[in-house]
């Protein structure tokens, strides 16, 4: 009994820490939700919706500030990975629920609102909103969510405020690669790199012919590899090569590992070129452009340049897990869908804003296959480990890497298959379901018509689950909920077990 009480008070002190950091992240979420109010300066007749943003944002902000003040954090005790997982799960839940409120106010039902918000924070870009008729405040808020979700809420918080030392939080949110050997300086570097790209992107898109509002939204969503657009035809609305070119550069920057970005920033081009991910990106992009061009776009478009442009843009958009389109993918044939599914499954670079299985994992598995074969021809006692370049570091691959990555890819494929099966139950075709769920779990956002305002609520929930699992990479969600489920009875004193 005594031991039980002791354990309980220990858990209580840990959860005070957890709540405190969750509250810090939530106050950031509150600020983000209130931010679209600034747009009232340009769209003064949107006051009705602006009030909802302001009220939701400030109440989340002050509510979490209150919790933060109630619990003093214990800075000497750093967070463990499981505690980071709980914080991520809690703060993402708050972000998704609080972010849905303005969508409900703009006329969606709760499921659709949660879907749209999840699609925003996870940088997916699937949408059930009619962008032609919706308020510009909502459009800007969608882009803002993608911008923040792309960088990662933990990274934003750590770069802005004093937070916990240690890397458990950033690791839990899937942003573990550090640029410098100090988590705070590293997050600041990432955030400043990210925002300077965003600024350059806005200017470049403006020069390419977009309006300021479109340029800001598209720069936000291209760099975060999100893919929300302000136009119903997405990038096809402009039908201009220079717009597409800028967008492709931004999407590629967003999908590049920040370690590689940082090496480039410091002028180490050779190191960046040595990265396995850069090789894979080049090869896969080349092959897929060739495949799409050869099989599909030559049939759909008249001029050679038009054919090439469509193939290139769609490949980059799918591989970077952004999800912008220049043409209606429903008209594309089965072979092109399959190519795009492959691209969406591979996804972007690890430690970038992209989703998917991640190029790094694919590289490691390819190395593993060749290593496995090579081992048969070597003497029994020989020591030979494959190596791979990540950023500026040479990494020796061990069995542990292969185990982790093998399990991850297995889980990814399993959940993709299960999710696709679920979509077929709602009356969609085999090809459509596989395409749409690959897009959902990879946080891509390309759609062949499965996701729409007419989709049933339960189908949207299946997709919401896929987006969250895909963005947070499974383990964190499992671990966070399991830990909460185990600790909650002890904290509330419902159980007598010690």
């Amino acid at each position: 009994m005594n031991r039980h009480a002791q354990y309980r008070s220990f858990l209580c002190s840990r959860y005070r820490n957890i709540l405190c950091y969750t509250a810090l992240i939530c106050s950031l979420i509150g600020l983000l939700i209130a931010l679209p109010v600034l747009l009232l300066l340009f769209f003064p007749d949107e006051w009705g919706l602006g009030r909802v943003f302001l009220l939701t944002g400030t109440s989340v902000f002050f509510g979490s500030l209150l919790i933060r003040l109630m619990f003093k954090p214990d800075l000497d005790n750093a967070l463990g990975f499981d505690e980071g997982a709980v914080i991520v799960v809690l703060s993402w839940t708050v972000a998704i629920i609080a972010g849905s409120v303005p969508f409900v106010a703009s006329g969606l039902n709760w499921t659709q609102a949660v879907f749209e918000t999840t699609s925003g924070w996870t940088t997916t870009g699937l949408s059930v909103v009619d962008v032609a008729s919706v308020s510009p405040l909502i459009l800007f808020f969608r882009s803002l969510m993608q911008l923040a979700g792309g960088a990662g809420l933990a990274i934003l918080m750590l770069s802005a405020l004093t937070g916990p030392a240690g890397v458990s939080l950033t690791t839990a949110e899937g942003r573990q690669d550090q640029l410098v050997p100090n988590v705070r300086q590293s997050t600041r570097l990432v955030v400043s790199l990210y925002f300077s790209y965003v600024l350059v992107g806005i200017l470049a898109l403006k020069l390419a012919g977009m309006s300021w509002f479109d340029a800001i939204n598209h720069s936000f969503c291209a760099l975060s590899t999100g893919g929300f657009s302000t136009q119903p035809e997405s990038i096809g609305n402009w039908n201009a090569f220079h717009v597409e070119l800028v967008m492709m550069v931004l999407m590629l920057l967003g999908t590049t590992n920040f370690l590689v970005s940082y090496a480039l920033w410091k002028g180490k081009f050779r190191l960046a070129l040595r990265n396995a991910e850069t090789h894979l990106l080049g090869i896969v992009a080349l092959l897929s452009v060739a495949a799409l061009f050869w099989s599909t776009t030559t049939q759909l478009y008249a001029g050679l340049s038009q054919q090439f442009r469509a193939a290139l843009f769609q490949s980059i958009s799918a591989l970077s897990t952004t999800g912008y389109t220049t043409s209606d993918l429903r008209n594309w044939d089965d072979s092109s869908w399959l190519v795009i599914i492959f691209l969406m499954l591979i996804g972007g670079g690890v430690g970038s804003t992209a989703g998917g299985i991640k190029q790094f994992r694919i590289c490691v598995l390819i190395k593993g296959i060749s290593w496995n074969i090579k081992r048969f021809f070597l003497p029994a006692g020989s020591i030979n480990q494959p190596v791979i370049w990540v950023g500026e570091n040479r990494k020796v691959l061990t069995d542990e890497h292969f185990r982790h990555i093998g399990l991850h890819v297995f889980l990814y494929i399993t959940i993709w298959l299960l999710g696709s099966y679920a979509l077929t139950l709602y009356g969609h075709s085999f090809a459509q379901s596989f395409f749409e769920y690959a897009s959902t779990i990879g946080t891509v956002g390309l759609s062949v018509g499965v996701t729409s305002i007419h989709a049933s609520n339960s189908q949207l929930w299946v997709q919401i689950l896929g987006m969250v699992l895909g963005r947070l990479e499974f383990w964190v969600v499992f671990l966070g909920f399991l830990k909460l489920g185990r600790d909650f009875p002890v904290l509330t004193g419902a159980t007598g077990k010690s």
Binding site: P164, A165, P181, N393, R394
Partner: protein, 143 residues
Amino acid sequence: MAEPVKYISVVIVGCGRLGSQLAGQLSADGYNVVIVDQHEKAFKLLPSKFSGFCITGDATEQLVMQSANLENADCLMAMTQKDTLNLMVALVARVIFSVPHVIARVYDPQYEDLFSSYQIETISPTKLSSQAFLQKIQEYIDI
């Protein structure tokens, strides 16, 4: 928890009980910390507040120390079990990488003169603990 104005980078060689504790504390205080050890398993000792880089390799090899970015480091701490290895690592840091501050742990007080002749600061656990014991005895006698 005062934030350092400039990011000071420290390289620690040897991730034992002392090295890992020190690395964790420096990391939590906002320093850039790189820790080097020959065995990957040693890094398991690091506390969770550590957010620096771990480099696996022999610290006497210059390539390893280059990958630890020693030429830009402000301070090196040699904390391995062996005094001679600490001397070697500290000397390389001082002479080849010209690190401004080099501190080494020395068990054997005899070696301290040798270290100081190369302008390497030393901390001797043997000496420190003997002083502490003497002080305790002194307290008993005084009472």
